[in-house]
């Protein structure tokens, strides 16, 4: 197994390099340094200031190879934007945020916990809620209950998440006053701020989730082994909850484990709407303030997580599917 993981990690290296290259192209080739500088320097920057900013960020260096002699006359061909960018990312020497004047890595450390406090409960709760509902619907498959439930699922899916959030906040927090409208607290006090976002996150994913799980279940229900189990005298519920569920876990696991990296991404909208100071908010702020170093670093780190997540998915297959073995 260790052998397998090592091999997968080695295979991921070219992908990581590719991600670095993509971010370089996006942020160095398509974006003009002067424009970025002006956005960061506020009202009335003097040209000298702009130039100083560009120099300080190394954005005046040549793109790929630096053939100009430096101050001491030596030529350092790899002191270029491309190579600096690559070493910065690959060696985890993350830059400072242009807007917040703080190390991106420090920002991440601050933001990750609030994001997780909302995405992890939402993630677990939504599995806990959608899976049983999907099983129930699979139990009633073919009946009008199934058709009705499916229609409701499609309807729930067709409501944009904005509406869940806006109407949910309005009803539950503004009109009925069950929850705080906005805010967050670090530590245990956070729970009362998390309830509403978590409920809304679960609700907004309910339709799609139930439908997906139902499809997975029904694909399994049609399988031959189900008939065998029924012929053995296993009750329909037993078949559903034991035989079908364990088989259905395979596709479910793929989707679930792959979505784990996104737990760290946080929920952009929920964080923005409820004032949770997490990764989503960081990202939004970076967007609005054109904070390239933050976005660049986030793209890179999330890609690493995503790659790790996909390796994790493959490993987790072995837990539910005996047919999969490492080789």
């Amino acid at each position: 197994m260790i052998h397998y993981i090592v091999r997968r990690l080695l295979l991921a290296v070219p992908t990581v390099l590719g991600v670095c290259l993509v971010t370089f192209l996006l942020f160095n080739v398509f974006a003009s340094p002067e424009a970025v500088a002006r956005k960061q320097l506020g009202k009335n920057p003097t040209p000298a200031q702009v130039k100083a900013w560009v120099t300080a960020h190394g954005m005046d260096k040549p793109m790929f190879f630096n053939l100009n002699p430096g101050k001491d006359g030596s030529i350092r061909p790899f002191d270029s934007r491309f190579w600096n960018h690559m070493t910065e990312l690959l060696l985890f020497r993350f830059p400072e945020s242009d807007y917040l004047h703080e190390k991106v890595i420090d920002l991440l450390k601050q933001k990750i916990v609030p994001s997780l406090t909302i995405t992890v409960p939402a993630f677990l709760l939504s599995i806990l809620v959608t899976l049983p509902i999907a099983l129930l619907i699979a139990y009633y498959r073919g009946t009008y209950i199934d058709r009705l439930a499916l229609l409701i699922c499609v309807i729930l899916m067709s409501i944009v998440i904005l509406n869940y959030i806006i109407v949910g906040q309005y009803l539950l927090a503004v009109v009925f006053k069950y929850f705080p409208i906005y805010g967050y607290d670090f530590g245990v006090g956070a729970w009362k701020f998390l309830l509403l976002p978590v409920i809304l996150a679960v609700a907004s994913g309910l339709g799609g989730g139930v439908r997906f799980y139902r499809t997975v279940m029904l694909n399994e229900v049609r399988a031959d082994y189900v008939r065998t189990a029924m012929a053995k005298g296993v009750s329909e519920e037993g078949v559903l909850f034991k035989h079908v569920l364990k088989n259905a876990m395979i596709p479910i696991l793929t989707v679930t484990v792959l979505s784990i990296p996104f737990l760290i991404t946080g929920s952009l909208l929920l964080e923005m709407y409820f004032g949770i100071p997490g990764m989503g908010n960081l990202m939004l702020n970076a967007i609005n303030s054109h904070d390239y170093p933050v976005i660049r670093t986030l793209v890179y780190i999330y890609s690493l997580l995503y790659i790790a997540g996909s390796i994790l998915t493959d490993i987790s297959y072995t837990l539910v599917d005996p047919r999969v073995v490492f080789e």
Binding site: T23, M157, V160, N163, Y302
Partner: protein, 311 residues
């Protein structure tokens, strides 16, 4: 053969009452988008350089001072031409703009956002997927590498990064959405092309001396087209919704383009003031189109996908 498949598919869809009603709604919306795409034959008043369309001419209501509830009579700046009825059927927003008109203006944007990125994505996916599946070898390796890299970057971030470095705009958004979403389809097409490639009739055509290009586009492409069509219809809903969300968080279409996301963004604060019509107007339009497409796309997939047909 293909003909009869199509006929069977149509028959299957016709049987599904929900899908048929979904299709009708889509047609209605498409008609509105069409009206909003052809320039109005009428001349503008006062030489204002609006790029006016038939929809503008038909529905544009005058601007009021501020909010007015649904069914209010139009008022202060009396310009009585080109009005369907002299009422604000869905009221006006804080700028006094007619909500119904704004919502109708969102239809065309929704259709563009719903279709153009898919088409762009399909373009990339078809070309790269076919090449990878057909030629295999190093071509396949390179293309697989490209989409391996792209799919390793979480879509939303890649999208944000692209929109950050580009100017904001409807077409830029379409492009960014398209470029970030072709990987899945490409994978499917590659697999399908691999499968079709080894089939006997392709072998036969090759033996008859058909060129690679001809094989690719005359013989293999039609066999993977159903995947493309399914993908495009299935993606429509999520694209329309993502436009609303992206505009809401400030990286979607630029101001001045009709957009339900923008309407929702402007309206979300109004609920507390019991001004519900603006939010409701945008949301209902969005919901209706998305629901119609969801219902229709499901039926279409069930009807077209041979894998499901046999199952």
């Amino acid at each position: 053969m293909a003909e009869s498949h199509l006929q069977i598919a149509i028959k299957r869809i016709k049987r599904d009452r929900l899908a048929v009603s979904g299709f009708c709604v889509i047609c209605l919306f498409a008609f509105i988008a069409f009206l909003d795409s052809i320039p109005s034959p009428r001349r503008d008043v006062g030489g204002v350089q609006w790029t006016r369309t038939v929809l503008d001419a038909l529905f544009q209501k005058e601007v009021e001072i501020s909010y007015s509830p649904p069914m209010t009579m139009t008022g202060i700046l009396n310009r009585t031409e080109f009005q369907l009825k002299s009422r604000h059927l869905l009221g006006t927003n804080n700028l006094g703009e007619d909500v119904l008109y704004n919502a109708l203006k969102g239809v065309r944007t929704a259709f563009i956002i719903g279709i153009v990125p898919s088409v762009i994505a399909a373009f990339f996916a078809i070309i790269l997927g076919l090449l990878a599946g057909y030629y295999g070898g190093w071509v396949d390796d390179i293309i697989q590498y490209i989409y391996q890299v792209l799919s390793s970057i979480p879509g939303i971030l890649l999208l944000i990064a692209m929109l950050m470095v580009m100017e904001r705009g409807l077409w830029q958004l379409c492009f960014a959405l398209g470029v970030t979403s072709w990987v899945g389809l490409c994978r499917l097409i590659r697999g399908e092309a691999l499968k079709v490639k080894s089939m006997e009739y392709i072998e036969a055509a090759r033996a008859l001396g058909a060129s690679d290009l001809r094989l690719l586009f005359r013989h293999i492409l039609p066999n993977v087209m159903y995947l493309v069509i399914i993908e495009i219809t299935l993606d429509f809903s999520s694209l329309v919704m993502s436009e609303a969300v992206l505009t809401y968080i400030g990286i979607g279409v630029e101001p001045g383009t009709g957009s339900w996301g923008r309407m929702i963004m402007m309206a979300d604060r109004e609920l507390a003031n019991s001004i519900w019509w603006n939010l409701t107007g945008a949301s209902v339009f969005l919901f209706a189109l998305v629901l119609a497409f969801n219902l229709f796309a499901d039926a279409l997939r069930d009807a077209l996908d041979p894998r499901l047909r046999e199952g």
